[in-house]
Symmetry: C2
Subunit: 259 residues, 2 copies
């Protein structure tokens, strides 16, 4: 990765970097403890649909993980998101459409054939990019081998296949997702069933996009012996902030102080 | 309460006490921080069926709450349990029956008419005794008014009606229970719907005594705006020990450092 900017705030170093993956330049951010004097554990954070690598929730999570766990946190702009938006008007339209979908409680987005292809391609590319990032940090000497992943909603749509395909990930927080008739649903379910790493699965009881049954079915499908589902009232974008503390405890147990 | 014995271990004072409730003497234990120099918050811990006030899980929880939250913890022997067992052979028979019920995955115990009456009476008396204990600590000068309750299985069968009837309780951990055709089921469901305090609801995904549907229905029925359900794989008696840390975080948020 090429570091393009570096700032320090309250003990947290924040570095903007570019990662080359094939012909793409993927922009990312690394947050790390200013006090670190050697390699640390790493947590990857995948943002949600229409979001980017530095939305308030990702930034808040990153700072919380760095400060409470002493780990390094990495986030990437997902394909077609953040600095990788090539058609701002289309991105704005997608955001508005998702918001109205939530407002009207219409369930998962109905996709045209073209959108379904784009969804499948985004998932494929997203997985490739996370794996390239893990290769990069393994070569960089600052990662000690303990690796976690946090991502809900689109962060699970991409992150679940990623952690299923990536034995180097030791523990994952997933959520705001379910088993339903999305493009690649059979592959997604197979990936869930193949999981063996500890999983914390977050779900919103009044999610406008995911039915309760679909969320419970996904939790049930997850193959991991160590898995916990946290259900809270409220809609898709109202995951309670205290679930950050839950994620800290989860990563402390399985990543930072296992056993 | 009358203190009948006092020991100190690793900063935790443990006091056996007797509480007079009408004609009954209810034996209890108080655990408190040795370093406390004034009133503290209090957490009541209700044990499960066939257990007593000092089974390993109650003791472990009590010491965890005292050490991590600086609170005082109180436990009572439920009616007909612990030092209040009047017919040891019958108690042993009940324990064996419950264990075989779990081993055979037979669902909630089938109760005779006499057992159903005993269940209803135990719940009624248990609620009266917890309320008497709260009156007692309010008069005692060592309780600062912040009050929590932790109890699963029979600790919810008694504890849910208790916290529903007792506005002095500020936050409750409940679980290993569901909505099903037990004696007093309609009253139990009504109590659940009337709840307004923050609730953490613990459930085991492979509970031999409670169906998944009944547990989810109970979580759904709980009227509180602030409620979270934690689901873990495993049977009725295999609630993961890490849920102690979850309860600590829950009581920290709602009892010890609210807002």
């Amino acid at each position: 990765m090429d570091i393009v900017e570096r700032t320090v705030e309250k003990g947290v170093v924040e570095e903007r970097f570019d990662l080359k993956v094939d012909a793409e330049v993927v922009p990312g951010i690394r947050w790390s403890p200013e006090a670190a004097d050697g390699p640390t554990a790493t947590i990857l954070v995948g943002h949600g649909g229409t979001q980017h690598k530095r939305v308030p929730n990702v930034l808040g999570l990153a700072r919380t993980f760095v400060r409470h766990l002493g780990v390094t946190v990495l986030a990437l702009d997902a394909p077609g998101h953040g600095d990788r938006v090539t058609d701002p008007a289309a991105a704005e339209k997608a955001r508005a459409r998702l918001q109205s979908r939530i407002a009207e409680r219409k369930g998962a987005m109905e996709l045209s054939a073209e959108e379904a292809r784009a969804w499948t391609e985004r998932t494929r590319a997203g997985v490739v990019e996370w794996r390239a990032l893990v290769d990069d940090i393994e070569a960089g000497g600052r990662h000690d081998g303990r690796l976690g992943y946090w991502g809900v909603s689109m962060g699970t749509a991409i992150g679940l296949p990623f952690v299923a395909a990536e034995p180097r990930v030791n523990a994952a927080v997933l959520g705001l997702a379910g088993l339903n008739a999305r493009p690649g649903a059979a592959d997604f379910e197979a990936a869930a069933r193949s999981l063996t790493l500890p999983v914390l699965f977050l779900f919103q009881w009044d999610d406008e996009l995911m039915s309760r049954e679909s969320g419970i079915a996904l939790f049930d499908a997850i193959g991991s012996k160590e898995k916990t589902m946290h259900i809270n009232p409220g809609g898709h974008v109202f995951l309670p902030q205290f679930e950050r503390a839950g994620a800290v405890e989860f990563f402390r147990r399985h990543l930072v102080e296992p056993g």
